[in-house]
């Protein structure tokens, strides 16, 4: 076990509930001080993985190392990790101070010292003077902060958070996202954060593991996931994506090239092109990577003419659907409304539109087996 394997190292972990496999051969490393998110739809196994880190579920096979130590024989109350539960699990029979100080019993601190630590925590979570409040008198956002303080006061090596913002309304959630990120930077503790909200994961995380059906599809930075998704599933889970069928046709140029459905023979970045000539691939382009113009843009390396089939004005941006020859589905295009707009553009005349894009924006994925 060397440090380069990561502060938390998950190795070939499987988890069965009876005959149902909730986690399938998950391996990944999480670095010290990282804000790491597990992102995936409900039921994909995020909570199960988190509970295995906390020690509430055993692994069926594989091993989890925390700070270099294997954990399978370590019960939850001896692990150097703490958890913020989805329900917060604030003890209803204790006041705020006793909730926060709950884990300090074993340290046998003098009362003054303990109260001082609790006050410090209340400062940190911006609830000073709340020590005597009853747990039952708190709002959702306050309970969430108390749950954080109760875990952080023990200075854990890792903090686990299971959809901690899920129960809050939108405005409070956005505020708490910022605070959570700031707090994590301040305390420097490794956070493993579970969410099903892609925007939340992109906003908060240093790195994200995208999960589906008990498997980890890709682990990457937010920008990495968005700009260079490795599979169609990841590409369509995070943001929107246009997919085109294509065939690799290099022609000796500095860039690779792909014969693409509807777009013709287009240049693509070399680093994206690992397949041999003739191999089927998928070409993926995000809606906002396209530029729209009523005439053929001058100087564009490549442009395609299509017809506007639908448009929607969304305030900050507009969404367009452009049909092109040789492709059944219209292409989704999203543009920022920089100048003053007067509603959605007129599409009644079946207006011709030119699409152009930068070749570097293209992502090449393996061909879709399912068709």
């Amino acid at each position: 076990m060397t440090t380069s394997d990561g502060f938390i190292s998950i190795r070939h972990v499987n988890k069965f509930f009876g005959s149902f496999q909730a986690i399938e051969d998950v391996s990944m490393n999480i670095g010290q001080g990282e804000f790491f998110s597990l992102l995936g739809a409900s039921g994909c196994g995020k909570t199960t993985l988190l509970r295995m880190l906390a020690g509430f579920e055993s692994t069926s096979s594989g091993e989890i190392y925390i700070d270099g130590q294997p954990t399978s024989d370590v019960p939850p109350h001896h692990r150097p990790v703490n958890m913020v539960f989805q329900s917060y699990a604030i003890f209803p029979h204790l006041n705020v101070r006793d909730n926060i100080a709950y884990g300090l019993r074993k340290q046998k601190l003098p009362k003054a010292k303990r109260d001082e630590m609790v006050e410090e925590m209340l400062e940190l979570i911006k609830l000073p003077g709340y020590g005597q409040r009853k747990a039952t008198e708190l709002s959702g956002g306050q309970r969430q902060r108390i749950a954080l303080a109760r875990a952080l006061i023990l200075r854990p090596k890792v903090l686990l958070l299971d959809e901690p913002l899920g129960a809050l309304d939108k405005q409070l959630r956005e505020q708490m996202q910022l605070e959570l990120r700031a707090l994590q930077r301040q305390v420097g503790i490794t956070f493993v954060f579970v969410t099903h909200d892609q925007e939340e994961a992109l906003t908060l995380s240093d790195r994200i593991a995208v999960m589906s059906g008990g498997k980890v599809l890709q682990v990457d930075t937010p920008a990495g996931l968005y700009e260079t998704p490795k599979t169609r599933e990841v590409a369509s889970f995070i943001g929107n994506m246009n997919f085109f069928q294509g065939t690799v046709r290099r022609n000796g140029a500095a860039m690779g090239a792909v014969e693409t459905e509807g777009l013709g023979h287009i240049p693509v970045p070399l680093d994206q092109l690992t397949k041999p000539d003739g191999a089927p691939v998928q070409v993926a382009l995000r809606p906002e990577k396209f530029e729209l113009s009523p005439t053929r843009p001058e100087g564009a390396l490549h442009a395609v003419e299509g017809r506007l089939s639908n448009a929607a004005y969304l305030g900050e941006r507009s969404h367009y659907y452009v049909s092109i020859a040789g492709k059944d589905q219209p292409i989704a295009v999203s543009t920022q409304n920089l100048g003053r707009m007067t509603g959605a553009p007129d599409i009644s005349g079946d207006a011709p539109m030119w699409l152009s894009w930068a070749p570097e924006a293209i992502v090449i994925l393996d061909a879709d087996e399912t068709g």
Partner: protein, 269 residues
Amino acid sequence: MSDQGTYIKRPNRPLQIYAMVFLFVLYLPILFIPMFSFNDSIYVRFPLQGFTFQWYGELWNRQPVWNALWNSVKVGAVVAVISTILGVVAARAITRYRMPGKSALVTFIMMPLVIPGIIFGVALLVLMSRMGVPLSLYTVTLGHLIVCLPFAVATLLPRFEGFDPSMEEASADLGENGWWTFWRVTFPMVMPGVVASLLLTFTISFDEFIMAFFLTGTDPTLPMYIWGQLRFPQEFPSVLALSSLILFVSFILVFVAQWIGRLGLDKDT
């Protein structure tokens, strides 16, 4: 219009009348007992003769009553503590662990509620005499445990069922082992149920007659003492006075138990 409440909660006149009649018929015979206990006559018949505390006064000075009372309190206290402890263990096991045949187990625990006491009484009596165990307050206690355990479990189960399991996990997560978690989280949270169970089982044991009838040795419990006094007509008013006191105390205890048992349950989400 709008303050009529929901469809279900709307006041229902016929149902209210039914409830009144039901309660009246149920409690009318019982009301005669305190009424005649204050009657200045040794005969239980109308018209009432006048108001007196004489029968209560007589009770006060009677040593056997105090002995029987003390026996009942001892048995009741022991039964309450043991059946509540067993009830806590059972309710915890039933709600915490996934196990096959769970509902069958619950049915078995609740069974004594519907098995006639006389059958249990006779069965235990036979068992005791076979094993050569002399009848005493201990055998009465054993009989009462069987009667009280279902009530303890029934009182405690809702408490444990309404208990978010992540509370105990949070305690473990914050570094406490099973023992400390129980005393710092589980027990305080089910405390109202425990108190309710103690009060209820004490009352049931205190009032119980059939088991005591089969299993009492030479030391009578209070109901057994009353039974013994029924042979003497001149003692009847004192018996009524004693019964009134038992009724009163039982009513208070059960009422308090119900009230405590529900503390916090309604508010919780």
